[in-house]
Subunit: 305 residues, 2 copies
C-alpha cells in the first residue's frame, strides 16, 4: 500500500520547504508527498515562483522525499475554474493550469491535478448550457494534456467532487468523461478519488460505498485522498475525531480487493486557520500514525508509538 501526505496541513504554518520536509520525514515518518498549490500560488510572478519551487525541490531531495504530484488546494477551489460561465473566467483558469504545470515540473512532480471546476447555478440549471460547458471542458482538458506533455508531465489527475454542478461527480459521469476523452489526450488522464467526497450522503444517499467507486473506476483511479468524515460534509478531519466515522482499515481491504494497492493514497486534512499550531501538529501526527497502522498496515501500534 502506498501511503503519503498532501501538504495541506502545512499551509500558513510550516510553509518553509526545509521546515515541512523535516516534519514529514522526522515527525510523521513519511517519504511520499503531494505538493499543494496553496503553498506556492501558480499565479505568482515567474521569478518568485521559480525561486520558491527550487527551494521545494532541494528540500525534498535533502530529506529523501518524493513529490509524487502537485495538486490544487483551497485557494483555486474558490473559483469556478474551467466551468466558469464567462469565457473570460474559463480563459483565466486555463492560464492557471498552465502555470500550475510549470510549478509541478519545477518542484519535481510527475503529475499535476485538482478539481476541474464548477458550473454556476444558472448554467447548471439550463440543459443546453450544461451540455455546452461539458463539451468545452473536454476541449480544455484535451488542450491541457498537450501543454502538460510539453512541460514534461506524465499525468493529469482529475479530482471527483461531491457537487452536481462539478464534473465529474459520479462513477457513471467519470466513466463517460474518460470515454469521451479517449484518443484525444497527449498524457494520461486519471481520476483522484477522495473518500470523503465519494461517501457524501446528502448527494449520493445513505448507501454510498467505496467498493462501487473502486470497482466502477478500477485502473482509471490514479490516486486517493484520505480524510475522516461523518459522511454529512466534506469534512477533511483527522484521527482521532469523535465526529468522524470513516474506517480506514475497511477501506484498505476494499482497495486490496479491487487490486489497487499500488495507487497512492494521500492523507488530506484541512484545519481551520485559527486552530492552535500545537493542536494541528498533534492531530496530523496522530492521523498519520492511525493511517500508517490501519491503512498502510506497515507498523504495529507499539512501534509507531
Amino acid at each position: 500500500m502506498k501511503f503519503g501526505i498532501n501538504l495541506s496541513f502545512t499551509v500558513k504554518r510550516w510553509v518553509e520547504a526545509p521546515v515541512w520536509a523535516r516534519i514529514v520525514r522526522e515527525t510523521l515518518g513519511l517519504d511520499l508527498v503531494q505538493f499543494t498549490y496553496d503553498l506556492l500560488d501558480p499565479w505568482w510572478p515567474d521569478a518568485v515562483r521559480r525561486s520558491m519551487a527550487a527551494e521545494v525541490r532541494k528540500a525534498a531531495s535533502d530529506w529523501g522525499i518524493q513529490i509524487e504530484s502537485a495538486f490544487s488546494g483551497l485557494a483555486n477551489y474558490c473559483f469556478d475554474g474551467l466551468l466558469h460561465p464567462d469565457i473570460n473566467g474559463r480563459h483565466a483558469s486555463l492560464e492557471w493550469w498552465k502555470r500550475a504545470f510549470d510549478v509541478a515540473v519545477e518542484v519535481g512532480a510527475k503529475a499535476s491535478g485538482g478539481p476541474l471546476g464548477g458550473m454556476s447555478v444558472a448554467d447548471a440549471s439550463d440543459p443546453q448550457r450544461r451540455e455546452r460547458r461539458y463539451h468545452d471542458l473536454l476541449d480544455a482538458v484535451e488542450g491541457l494534456t498537450q501543454v502538460a506533455k510539453a512541460a514534461g508531465l506524465e499525468r493529469l489527475q482529475v479530482e471527483c467532487t461531491p457537487l452536481a454542478r462539478e464534473i465529474p461527480y459520479t462513477v457513471e459521469q467519470s466513466r463517460k468523461f474518460l470515454k469521451d476523452l479517449e484518443g484525444r489526450c497527449a498524457v494520461s488522464v486519471k481520476l483522484l478519488i477522495d473518500v470523503g467526497h465519494a461517501l457524501y450522503q446528502p448527494l449520493y444517499g445513505p448507501k454510498a460505498n467505496m467498493p462501487e467507486w473502486l470497482n466502477g473506476l478500477g485502473r482509471s483511479i490514479g490516486a486517493f485522498h484520505l480524510q475522516n468524515t461523518d459522511f454529512q460534509s466534506d469534512s477533511h478531519w483527522g484521527w482521532p475525531d469523535k465526529r468522524g466515522l470513516f474506517d480506514v482499515a475497511a477501506f484498505a481491504r476494499d482497495v486490496r480487493a479491487a487490486d489497487l494497492e499500488d495507487v497512492p493514497a494521500f492523507l488530506e486534512i484541512i484545519y481551520p486557520f485559527e486552530l492552535a499550531d500545537e493542536t494541528v501538529l498533534a492531530s496530523i501526527t496522530s492521523s498519520v500514525m492511525h493511517c500508517r497502522q490501519h491503512y498502510a498496515g506497515e507498523l504495529e501500534k507499539k512501534q509507531i508509538a
Copy 2:
C-alpha cells in the same frame, strides 16, 4: 445603522453579476454590498479582469447597488501574504494588493481591504524575526497606501484576525499598528472588525466582548463583518443555526453606545462548497432578514416576512 452584505455567499454559485445583483436587491432587499475577490481574482490577466469588473460595475448600477468596498475572500487568505517568511512571497503579495486595488476601482468601490497576512510558525516563534516582519509590514502598508491613492481609492481596510501569528489581532496591537503608521500613509487606514474573530474564546478567553473592541478602537473602525458563531471557531454561520450564540441585537446596542452607527456592517456567511444551493439561498435569506430586523432595526418582523 448601515447594513449590507459581503458577496461571499455567491461564490461558485451565483457568480454572474446580473444574477447576484438581482438576488441582493430582490430576494434580500439590500442595496449595499462588499465585493469579494473570490468572485474575480486580482491575479487574472488584465483583459479578463477589466471585462469582468466592467460587468460588475454595470450590474451594480443597473440594480441600484452601492459597492462600498472590495475585500479579500477565502482564496487570498490561504497564503501568508505580506507576512510571508520569504521575501519572494511578500513580493508576490504586494503585487496581489496592487492588482486588487485596480479591481476595486474598476468595480466602483472606494476602499479595498482584507487580512494583511500571517507569519510562519518559525518566524512567529523567533522574537527578532517577528519584530522584523512587523516593521516590514509597516513599510509595505505605507507603500500600498501610495498605490491605493494613485489608483483612486480613499481607504485601506485592514481586517483583525483571531491568530497570534497575524497582525493585528488584539485591540492593543491594532492601536500600536495604527499609531506606528501615523503620518506615513497616503490614504486613510481603517480597521475591519469581524465579530466572530473578536469573540474567539480559544485565543481571547471567555471574557472577550464587543464593547472592549468598540471602545478600544472607536473611530479607527471602518467596517464590521457580522456572522453567527459559537465563539469556539471562526464559524461564519447564518441565522437560524442551533449551534450559533451571537446576539446581533445586543451588538447593535453596543454599536450605538459606542456612537458607531454610521460604520457599515456586512454580513459575511461562508457556506461549505458542497452544501445544496437551495439550502444556501434559504439560509442567506433568513440570515439577512434576521439582521435587518435585529441589527438594522429597519423592519418589523411581519413586514420582512
